[in-house]
Symmetry: C2
Subunit: 440 residues, 2 copies
């Protein structure tokens, strides 16, 4: 990119090549058309799509793009002489998306992408490619949709040392957990409904198993702590294990259940993890419901900061992509991880077993004498101290009843050991549900 | 500023001249010392204070600044050849602060300021001075302390057309209203306590009368709508009129009371206003308590976005000031109002009488027959329709009892006419308290 501040008054358009014309790609084209007046003023020059790459030229996308150059191979956008900026909206950490982004950076072209998987898995090498070719790589839309979370962390909080970063990073899971809480229905019921409404994919595993949130957390942690975090080292749990009962018990205990991505930095290093958590009802994060996302950062000087908004959808995502394009038009870009990449060294997250915190444990136990004594003896032997317990008498004289235990803060390794021993008891009939409690 | 992207590896420090060494100035010096490692990496070069201007050289500020150049006249920082960037932390829309900022911009030096009054009152002329001299003027700390609200609006949401902007912009008022709600005490009591705790100034009028929030709202609205809004045209009400009774009634009705700055853009133009408002208890803004600030923006594509954090204090404010300095070191600056200033024309806020919305009206009325009939007749005659009413019987057989009326959405002019006629009734003993209801 050779745009400089002196160009502001010129009218040479910044030319985009857009790969992928799904919801977000079409949304971007519509946004650039509808907001052309303000975008031109803020970018200092017109921004126009000159070339696209998508499978189906004939599909109705709500905007006529037939006059543009169509590439059957998206990677060709990188060598199209009429493309200044490549916008990658294909998705996926490998394949065409990766080839296109690498080819564009190598060609010295600026790249804007919404691809969280690509940045989480290959961010380190892409950052080096971007620096080596002096080709900016921007990815605001990769985390939390329309919320400028990356700009907030990388620029807005650039002067502070961040201690933690994270939040509600997957709208599908938050929608499902919110609907389960509000309706008392079970996971599979609500998932099916979310799929019908378009809030969940036909194959929901990337969302409900926490992978998508882990991609986003990896990016946020890398930015916040100034070193690329290796995606494979991030501990990931999804929400399939959460039952309607858990949401009811959480409420009784004064909590809500949220799938949190959470990364901390301490003298021991970086700890990053995605897992369902109980959060106190009165905290701001507990109030973030439905498809909304929220990112919380905590710094030594700035204290705690929360940003909340729409984490997905054509409009919010297109807004984030176009904001990146305006930054490129202005010549205002920042290295991928906020600092000179040659000084950076990728780091691994510490294992989850090293975490420390309080736990919620739900068991299905036989409704007979001595059960609680056996279970509490195991907890005592493992050094886990109990804070409270809920046992409802069996209303229907069922054989098994739920038993909920809440612990004081303890080492995760101790708690996992206790859980394993408890699960092996004859009187415990189903897989125990273990959920962390976070005062986040 | 001549910094360019190519300089990143060089070690030439960016030299600051800091005017004003109160809490924020000293906090900035401590931040730059404690976080020097990360700031140098993110800025691409060291950042150091070379000169200062403050009244008392001997005061203990928690950091030794005696070796720096001290100017007895702050304006001299603008001509100090060892100063690249002037940091103005004196405050006030006139006097030394204004002279210094103008002199620095005229000298072609970048300026960073936390001065909301200066930007709100003189932002238009300062923007022109900044553009004419190619001298960036950054003011992230002027709005919402450590929250990067300005960056969020001016860059993060640059691609979208914003419909509204506003929020809880004054921590002192929010602290007072929160404490009044939690303790049931009256305004003057809680204000005295806030003054003791350092949350309110000895002369609290700038805060409690809404002026400070109006300064910040003026800046946000100017950014959001891409045209400078004239500060004098913004409607301003403070919180002195709010009684402990109002917080109790608000709770009964399912609301909380917040001092909101709120600006909207429509075909009619810009409407900007600061006033205490009832907000539904379940909304995110209602949950923002104590000294916290929150900014909500709504755009056509991005939807609704909220940022929440510490709106004041040495650490958060210093973090915002230093983030601006890093942007300058990187050469990543944006025009004051986000676009070429020569195309901008200052605008006035539409008068408050043109607003439309629901109202809460608390009266102190004689406890006798016919009172309600008289009052509701006036409302009917003015075209104001009632939604609900609370009248508690006088417990102590007092002469006057509170009567609370909640209206359906109505024109503000109609409501004000009704209020005036109701206030003139013999049976109404004190000035009616009229509070707007906002679903914000």
């Amino acid at each position: 990119m050779s745009s400089s501040k002196g160009d502001v008054a010129s009218k040479t358009p910044l030319r985009l090549g857009v790969a992928g014309l799904g919801t977000v790609g079409a949304g971007l084209a519509i946004l650039l058309r509808d907001n052309a007046d303000i975008i031109t003023k803020r970018a200092g020059r017109p921004i126009e799509i000159t070339a696209v790459a998508a499978r189906d030229k004939t599909r109705d996308r709500g905007i006529d793009l037939s006059a543009l150059t169509w590439h059957s191979n998206a990677v060709d956008l990188a060598s199209d002489p009429n493309v200044d900026v490549v916008v990658e909206l294909i998705g996926g950490s490998e394949g065409t998306a990766r080839s296109l982004v690498e080819a564009a950076l190598k060609a010295g072209k600026a790249v804007v992408t919404a691809n969280k998987a690509l940045l989480a898995v290959h961010g380190d090498s892409l950052a080096r490619l971007s620096a080596a070719n002096n080709a900016p790589l921007l990815f605001e839309a990769a985390v939390a949709g329309g919320i400028p979370a990356i700009k907030t962390v990388r620029e807005g909080l650039a002067a502070d040392r961040l201690l933690s970063i994270g939040g509600i990073l997957n709208g599908t899971c938050n929608y499902i957990l919110t609907a389960m809480r509000e309706t008392g229905r079970d996971f599979s019921d609500v998932l099916a409904e979310a799929q019908e409404l378009g809030y969940a994919e036909a194959d929901p595993s990337t969302d409900v198993d926490g992978i998508d949130a882990a991609h986003k957390l990896t990016i946020l942690a890398s930015l916040a702590f100034g070193q690329p975090v290796e995606f494979d080292s991030v501990h990931v749990e999804g929400i399939r294990c959460i039952g309607a009962l858990d949401l009811t018990f959480a409420r009784t205990l004064g909590y809500r259940i949220k799938l949190l991505g959470l990364a901390r930095q301490s003298e021991r290093g970086v700890e990053a993890r995605v897992a369902p958590c109980l959060v106190p009802e009165a905290t701001p994060i507990a109030q973030v419901d439905g498809v909304f996302n929220a990112v919380i950062a905590e710094g030594t000087f700035v204290g705690r900061l929360m940003v909340e908004g729409r984490g997905a959808g054509a409009g919010p995502t297109a807004s984030a992509v176009a904001a990146d394009i305006i930054d490129i038009a202005r010549g205002n870009t920042v290295p991928v991880w906020g600092t000179d990449v040659t000084t950076l060294k990728a780091t691994q997250s510490r294992p989850a077993s090293e975490w420390h915190g309080a736990f919620y444990l739900r068991l299905s136990v036989a409704d007979r004498a001595g059960v609680i004594a056996d279970i509490t003896a195991i907890l005592r032997d493992c050094g886990v101290s109990l804070s409270s317990m809920i046992q409802h008498p069996s209303a229907k004289q069922e054989q098994n009843v739920p038993l909920v235990l809440v612990t004081h803060p303890t080492d995760e390794s101790a708690m996992q050991a206790a859980r394993q021993r408890i699960a092996a008891l004859d009187v415990v009939s189903a897989e125990p549900v273990l959920i962390r409690i976070e005062n986040f």
